[in-house]
């Protein structure tokens, strides 16, 4: 089984700017309905299975809210 990339979204660092959402080529991400502790609608995984680990979301995130790791699906 090919190892795959796992995204880690840090809700409490997220400011809901939507850059990750806009730059994901596969519409994997979205913004949550609820607010986080900072008062923003944070990023959430909408269709994790579509993610192919291209890292565009993480590259564009201004708030270090997305990190990626190689590993088994969790």
């Amino acid at each position: 089984m090919a190892s795959r990339v796992v995204l880690h979204l840090e809700r409490e660092r997220c400011k809901g700017c939507g850059l990750c959402v806009a730059f994901c080529p596969r519409e994997v991400l979205g913004l949550a309905q609820e607010l986080n502790g900072l008062g923003y609608h944070p990023v959430e995984m909408r269709a994790g299975e579509r993610c192919h680990g291209c890292g565009r979301c993480a590259l564009m995130c201004p708030d270090l809210a997305i990190s990626m790791a190689k590993g088994e699906a969790v």
């Binding site: 700017c17 890292g55 565009r56 590259l59 995130c61 201004p62 708030d63 270090l64 790791a69």
Partner: protein, 245 residues
Amino acid sequence: MSSTFAPPEALTKVPFHYCPGCTHGIIHRLVGEAIDRLSIRERTIGVASVGCSVLAYNYFNVDMQQAAHGRAPAVATGIKRVLPDRVVFTYQGDGDLASIGLAELVHAAARGERITVIFVNNANYGMTGGQMAPTTLLGQITTTTPSGRAVKEAGYPLRVVEMLATLEGPVYLARVSVHDPANVIRARRAIIKAFEVQLQDLGFALVEVLSICPTNWGKKPVEALSWLKEHMLPVFPLGEFRAVS
């Protein structure tokens, strides 16, 4: 499970105070990544300037000095002359670097000071609420150009990199942007180079990074990136303007 993309060690864990979508955050990360990549965290001294990034000293996980508005290149010169084997960088906005601090910048460049300057051009003064910067585009509305920047009153946008390229002191001069992932990657490469030439003791290096200010531009972050691409790129062309072979 091995991490392939994680916050660099050269950044602290302190959350940024920047507005949602502000690309100062991306640029911080790129600088942190460059420091990590070159393994120079413990011998790097950063200089924060006055602008939205004034608190940069809280974010870069290296020794930091906070400089007076515009004077970061002079402060960096002071540090580097005393500690020539350390790595010294400044992180400055366009108001700080291109307006009040222009003389210190040009002279540091002309002297070929061995420092690395990260120059964040967001076409306005972010911190004080969106006034005109030297890099503000013609016609751009800011709080001090309420009818749009007009040549007759406020002159032309300043192209810092092109101007510095006439000097002999700089060994690396590039303009990059962070408006999409491909450009972020290019920006990262440029920033690494700008540190490398310092490590090689070659001379002055500066990377201008085109950046957005969604708050003061009055645009959503994604819109702001498009505006950058559409309006700033024609005035501020990307590329390496001076590079060592």
